[in-house]
Symmetry: C2
Subunit: 248 residues, 2 copies
Amino acid sequence: MLSNILLKISYDGTNYSGFQIQPNAPTIQACLEDALSFLAKERIRVTAAGRTDAGVHAKGQVVNFKSRISVPIEKLPVALNSILPPDIRVEMAQLVEDSFHARYSAIEKTYSYQVYQAPIQSCFLRLYSLWVSNPIDWEKVEQAGKMLIGKHDFKGFAATGSSVQTSVRTMKDFQIKKEGRLTTMYFTADGFLYHMVRNIVGTLLEIGTHKRSTSDIALILERKDRSLAGPTAPPQGLFLESVLYLLS
Amino acid sequence: MLSNILLKISYDGTNYSGFQIQPNAPTIQACLEDALSFLAKERIRVTAAGRTDAGVHAKGQVVNFKSRISVPIEKLPVALNSILPPDIRVEMAQLVEDSFHARYSAIEKTYSYQVYQAPIQSCFLRLYSLWVSNPIDWEKVEQAGKMLIGKHDFKGFAATGSSVQTSVRTMKDFQIKKEGRLTTMYFTADGFLYHMVRNIVGTLLEIGTHKRSTSDIALILERKDRSLAGPTAPPQGLFLESVLYLLS
């Protein structure tokens, strides 16, 4: 019987050229499909909720695949983790309805972005955060970030040239959590455009370091012009935190 | 003028064969001495408070060296960090008395050891903790760890064959801090024998997983027999946290 199987996975993206499979480069998808194909004794293709870029991490990526795999679903995480490299872990496996699609069935995603603010870079956080040596006014960042909440055309924060049907998304929540010098920003939306979180972060950090004002957020949303927004923040601070589905 | 200079450094030990210089292997000492020698325009040798093993990390390693280096002391961290690889950072530089010796002048050191307890290994903590899938009774570990406090002959917890004058050390403090599934044990002593923390951790974890009883600590201290203690815990959980000096 052909089963539709959902996997929740986490990965340290440092050593990968992103999620999506490509020739002559290590990818999360290739590792995962190789491990699954080995266990299933047939070629498996997976579909992911979000195709993270090179260097981007995931704590709660979700993929699905259809297979006649004979390994019992409850044993799948342990079986896969024994084959996968240690920087990719399968956290959970679950049988889902035939119609479930990791990308199209998702109703909400949360990304986080870590910033380490200190005069000297941290050797332990260098691969998992953006280092900023200048002081950051996090109250200003929070104020600006909250302005993103709601249904907006986020075209001004998307990579130029992205070909999506609509750039209207609903930002449902923006939160900041501080732990000493490490600050994490959480973005929850019904969907994200290409480079959207990293472009927002680049803009918010310019606001937090007084290079621009909070009102720029409204301007960028209104004008829908990428050139008005800040730089794309580097990949290593970004984490796909979780994906929400309505599962029956 | 020949200055005696103290550096406080941190490093991610993952990609190094330990602190101490050795031929044909990457070491913290070689990186540091190369960077210093480049800046000082003379060959520099450093002395470290503790020579950490391959894979062991440091948040507060201390080294000293004597040099006629012309870079002002307050500019030394930034100058060195611009040359050093990103997994080694100089946190602070300070002029010290001529008699100061990073190893012999130390009066107290603190090491920490991180344990990640969960059914599935963490892809983000794999290089910075020991993963234990079985539940751990941390109250038992704390109880056993506190029995180490005081002046004892720690020979039973030292690597066999270590040639030190005396294996008597004073454990000044033992603390446990929990943050979700990550637990950190802190050991403070006037000195540590080779592999002492890792052998203690290996023993404490056997106590915490009910493979042996807390009373084994007293037995190992009394019998001074390495074969009675637990296995050497792996290096990646170990951090040299700090070194204490009486500086005038």
